[in-house]
């Protein structure tokens, strides 16, 4: 919102007060006018009635020529003080200061009622009851004081109203930003939204974000797509030192810079990561006001922690992904025959899960569970895992403990608590012949049933110490045969559909996952 210029405001204030006072003081004998101070020279009521004959056209064109000339030509009121107007009315005048501007308050006295034509202008002022009025100047003095006080109060009111509206605008922006941010988890997007909102609110041409190392991004606000440019040649030493100062003092301030309207504020993402936001208006646009400064401060104070927290969240998330991948890689490294096994089971289980109607967080959880399903193999000695030839009953018993061990390893991780059973039961068969408990059909959790199918497929498709790899089609044939007995029939059906679609859509990726199969597959009839 643009505040009205001071002289316009004071004109409105004076107009209002004068109109009010004129109504209150006009009687048969006296009337009041204020000339100057931005008020159109409205002649006192009796001039309207006598000299200008209530003719709107004459009033508009001529006004009371004599009074206007007196006010404009000679601010020295002595010429008017206790004088008489050409019509012979007694005139008293006083300079009054309204909002820093000098105005001339004029009071005219005379036997107006006698000269007044019929048809009063102001019905309230025609009662003619104020014969016992105090002398012109004394009352004028009092009136001028009232005018001053009322004017000051009105100005204060307007200032307060402006302040309220400014706060409204800020609150609105913050509500809006909160809503926009609620759906965003991406740092780059959050910065874009922040910058675009600031730019629009501050009527800026460009907004730049300068990083602590001096690098940064430059956004053109008119470009709604919000594609940032790298900061270029405007990085001159005086500006950069001012930017440093803003960063160190953590303030918001207007920067003098080669005639550009530039506003700068610090965006504290973390204690050790403070960006500086530069908001630029074209040189011809109006200068930044204290309201703009407040607005920038409010938005940055709000945006900084959001950016900081999101950054932290992204870092933690990346760390947990990297840690888990490292763990998964460690499991696969242990068994030289199963390199990449967990990654492949993770991918294919997700595809099968989607085929079964899973989505969103469930699907992510399934992927993580599938990636980690063999984590318990960490507790199985390498000699057993990599033993060529058949395992002894004892060795097989140790192998069969890996689902339970996996469950124990993952138990302390809160986010995996709900999928511990899937890890524990991924070797259970629907016909009850699996391990560790020999559960049947619906007793086996859905995630475990899906992972079991994919696990068997991947194991068959890759070579083992004791046998060669099956072709993909050969492995699929075995899976089909075991559906309903060793493997869950629904999970098998979903997996077959998902794998078929994946092979068709991403043949190259599929060939990378199961490379050794291609030659064999080509060679087979």
């Amino acid at each position: 919102m643009t505040p009205a210029p001071a002289n316009e405001r004071s004109a409105r204030v004076v107009q209002g007060v004068v109109a009010h006072l004129a109504r209150a003081t006009t009687s048969g004998r006296r009337s009041l006018a204020v000339l100057g101070c931005g008020v159109p020279a409205q002649p006192p009521t009796h001039c309207l009635r006598t000299c200008l004959h209530n003719d709107p056209q004459r009033i508009a064109q001529d006004g009371c020529g004599w009074l206007q000339a007196a006010a404009q030509g000679r601010r020295d009121v002595s010429c008017l003080r206790d004088g008489r107007c050409p019509k012979g009315y007694s005139v008293s005048a006083e300079t009054v200061v309204l909002h820093g501007e000098e105005a001339l308050a004029v009071c005219l006295e005379g036997p107006i009622a006698a000269a007044m034509p019929s048809g009063p202008i102001d019905p309230d002022g025609t009662s003619g009851a104020a014969d016992a009025a105090p002398s012109g100047l004394a009352q004028l003095d009092a009136l001028a004081r009232v005018v001053r006080q009322v004017g000051a109060l009105l100005e204060e009111n307007e200032g307060l109203a402006d302040e309220v509206l400014r706060v409204y605008e800020q609150l609105n922006l913050i509500f809006q930003l909160t809503q926009k941010f609620a759906g965003l988890t991406n740092l780059v997007q959050i910065e874009k939204v922040l910058v675009q909102s600031l730019g629009e609110l501050l009527a800026a041409e460009t907004v730049s974000v300068v990083r602590p190392d001096g690098a940064g991004r430059h956004y053109d606000i008119a470009d709604r797509a919000g594609r940032p440019r790298r900061i270029g040649d405007w990085r001159d030493p005086p500006l950069m030192s001012a930017v440093r100062q803003v960063r160190e003092s953590r303030t918001v301030s207007v920067l003098p810079h080669r005639g550009v309207n530039l506003l700068a504020g610090s965006l504290v993402r973390r204690e050790d990561a403070i960006d500086v936001v530069l908001v630029a208006r074209p040189p011809a646009a109006r200068e930044f006001t204290s309201g703009d400064l407040l607005l920038l401060e409010a938005v940055l104070a709000f945006g900084g922690p959001i950016l900081g927290n999101t950054e932290l969240h992204e870092q933690l998330r990346a760390m947990s992904v990297e840690t888990t991948r490292a763990l998964v890689a460690a499991i696969d490294k242990k068994d030289r025959y199963t390199s990449g096994h967990s990654e492949r089971v993770g991918l294919l289980a997700t595809l099968a899960g989607r085929e079964l109607g899973l989505s969103g967080a469930d699907l992510t959880l399934l992927e993580w569970t599938a990636l980690l399903h063999d984590v318990g193999k960490i507790g199985v000695p390498e000699e057993i895992l990599n033993k060529p030839g058949a395992l002894t009953a004892e060795e097989f018993a140790i192998i069969k403990r890996h689902p339970d061990m996996g469950c124990e390893i993952l138990a302390p991780i809160a986010s995996f608590r709900q999928v511990l059973d899937a890890v524990r039961f991924h070797h259970e068969n629907p016909d009850g012949t699996g391990y560790p408990l020999g559960l049947t059909r619906d007793e086996i959790p859905l995630f475990a049933r899906i992972i079991h199918v994919v696990d068997v497929f991947d194991a068959l498709s890759t070579a083992r110490s004791y046998r060669k790899a099956y072709t993909v089609d050969g492995a699929l044939q075995i899976i089909r045969e075991e559906a309903g007995t060793k493997l869950d029939a629904d999970a098998v059906a979903a997996f077959l559909r998902a794998l078929e679609a994946f092979r068709r859509r991403r043949p190259e990726r599929f060939a990378r996952l199961y490379p050794s199969q291609q030659e064999v597959a080509c060679g087979s009839p």
Binding site: M1, R12, N157, E158, A161, L165, Y168, N172
Partner: protein, 136 residues
């Protein structure tokens, strides 16, 4: 410039809105509740009605029921209401040709809205005049 009637029960908010609108050159009248607004509407129909929803006596929804069922009706109606129920109110009034803004409202957005409503109102007035002249 538009003739605007503002109905709002909080006297301070009402003052702020009216002062701000008059300074933009609009002719503004104020009402402290729905009933007072309805009386003013009967005296003279404004171009734009800005009303709060939660008011003692007659609330904004009842006022709107009266306003939208009578002729002439204001050219534009803007409803200001609490942020937590503004969506619900917006759905309730979806077919009433009413614009709903959450409080605290954005002065810049309201100003834009009033300007476009005012422009639409004067365009409509011109076309009515033209039609009337055409008939004559």
């Amino acid at each position: 410039m538009s003739r605007i009637l503002v109905a709002e029960d909080d006297p301070h908010i009402l003052r702020v809105i009216c002062m701000w609108l008059s300074r933009q050159g609009h002719e503004v009248r104020e009402a402290r509740n729905g009933l007072a607004a309805l009386q003013q509407l009967c005296d003279q129909c404004p171009d734009i009605l800005i009303t709060d929803i939660n008011m003692p006596g007659m609330d904004g929804l009842e006022l709107l029921r009266h306003v939208t069922s009578r002729q002439p009706r204001p050219h534009g109606i803007v409803v200001l209401t609490n942020r937590w129920d503004h969506r619900k109110i917006g759905e309730q009034l979806a077919n009433a040709g009413v614009l709903v803004m959450p409080k605290p409202f954005s002065p810049s957005k309201l100003a834009e809205l009033i300007q476009s409503l005012g422009a639409a109102a004067s365009a409509a007035a011109r076309s009515t005049t033209a039609t009337a002249e055409g008939i004559e």
